[in-house]
Amino acid sequence: MNKDKISSQEIIDQVASQLRVSKRQSEEFLKEMVVTIEEALLAGESVKIKNFGTFKLQWNEPRKSVNVQTGEEIILDGYNKVTFIPDVKLKDIVNEPFAHLEPLVLDDDNNEQEQEQESIIEESYDPLHIFTEQASEIKEILSEINALSSKNIENDKIDKNSEGDKELVDVIPDFIADNQSETAKENSETEITNVENNDVTSGNKINIPPVREINVPETSKIETVPEVKNPVTYSTSAEREIVHNEKYRPNETPDELAQPEILSTPDPFTEKVRPNKNNRKGCLIFIIVVLLLTGAFIGNYYLSSATRCWIKYTLLAETNTNKISKASKTVFGWFKDLKSWFIDDTVIDDEIGDFYTALYDPDSAKIKKDTVSIDTIAVVQTADSLQMLFDQHRVYTEFIAEERINEGSRLTLISEKYYGFKDFWVYIYEANLQKITNPDRIPTGTIIRIPKLDERLIDKDNLRCVQYAKQLHDLYVGLE
């Protein structure tokens, strides 16, 4: 930048030549201008020059800092600073080389792509997800079904109980009627009218239950009572007491004094039973209706969910069969490899032939089972041949290339270049053990040789090869 620096003298010269004034005047003017600006700034003013910019004093607050050498905290004092804010015109002129550049609003395309990739990955796992989800769903359904069945049992119990209650309830009115008819008989000696009343009331009592089933308990009672043409207005609770009072008044014999006791004992009983009966019947009907509704609803829901579940299963089964067919194809591929390896070994060849025939069997169900078994066998066989490869001492005699280590060179990258997979760098390292001491830090300029490797050893599609390479990786990296 030094060569681009011009002094004020050049500006003075330019101004002088432009305005055809003496250089002295021009120089004097510039000096005066600077002095005036300084004075204005010292006075705390800002100076604005048209088309050029504004000079301002800026106060920088005191701040904490650390002495780099001693580590002590020091406080830097606040200070004033002259700042120059260029005018828009000057800005534009200065920034002309970059004027065509516009701020670019970045869309989140990259992020979206990443998200898409993620979603694709998730989708690839989807069948498993669906399976687990379905499993959990099935569990829930089963548990709910169990709960429902237990509920049903309980409900049945309740029904039975309520039926028993019904029977009891049915029995009770008869009993009451009997009781009252007995009392009526006893009373019949003294007053016939009362007996008639009583009989009618007892009859009422018997008649009432069926009326109640239509859920009109109180009104029916009130309606039925006037039928008796009794001038006395009966309240539900006081009804029988009045009847009784009428009974004892004419007969104040000791026998009849005892009778009220007998009468009074069944009466509270009936009065207690009646509301119970009433409530129970109402509750029963309500419970039954609710149960029916809930049962229908739940049944409907689970029927639909079950069908949905079934549809999902059929779909899953289809995808699984597709997968199995794919897997069987890959197994075919492995078998072709195997065949090429064991051409001399006729026995294995025959076995493979058998497997082939088994695989080409049109029976799909058999293929599934066979592919699974063959799969395992194939893996074992390849593993065995690979194990032999892994176990034998590797001697690198043939080399396919030489590579010079530069700044930024990595064995993994070289491995990817020659073998197509990063993890096989370990073999390059093995071949260059004399030259490389630390695989992580190879001095630049080192020339390493890339060994020729058995194709089976650097099969990146074979999990065993990759795993073995990773084992070696751990071994070598762990050693350092």
Partner: protein, 96 residues
């Protein structure tokens, strides 16, 4: 202090008519602008250097909307004050 006030002040000091001072000032500003437009640094004795700095392109993120914007590089004029000026304004009391 604005443009006119500056001209009046300088005119009073130099005992020159205001029109003359205005001409001089305009010419000076034009010369400086031209030099700065060419990317040159102007050194003014005892005041400072007017220099052109390049601001590199950078990514700005809107704090509220998280919209990322790539700000292109640009050239700006900066005044690097001289030590003489620095010393002069150092003892200046701080005005709020």
């Amino acid at each position: 202090m604005n443009h006119k006030e500056l001209i009046t002040e300088i005119a009073a000091k130099m005992k020159l008519p205001r029109q003359e001072v205005e001409r001089l000032l305009d010419a000076t500003v034009a010369a400086c602008t031209k030099q700065l437009g060419e990317g040159k640094t102007i050194g003014v004795q005892s005041f400072g250097n007017f220099e052109v700095r390049k601001k590199e392109e950078h990514l700005s993120v809107h704090p509220a909307t998280h919209i990322r914007t790539l700000i292109p590089p640009k050239l700006v004029v900066n005044l690097k004050q001289s030590n003489i000026l620095k010393d002069k304004i150092k003892d200046l009391p701080h005005h709020e």
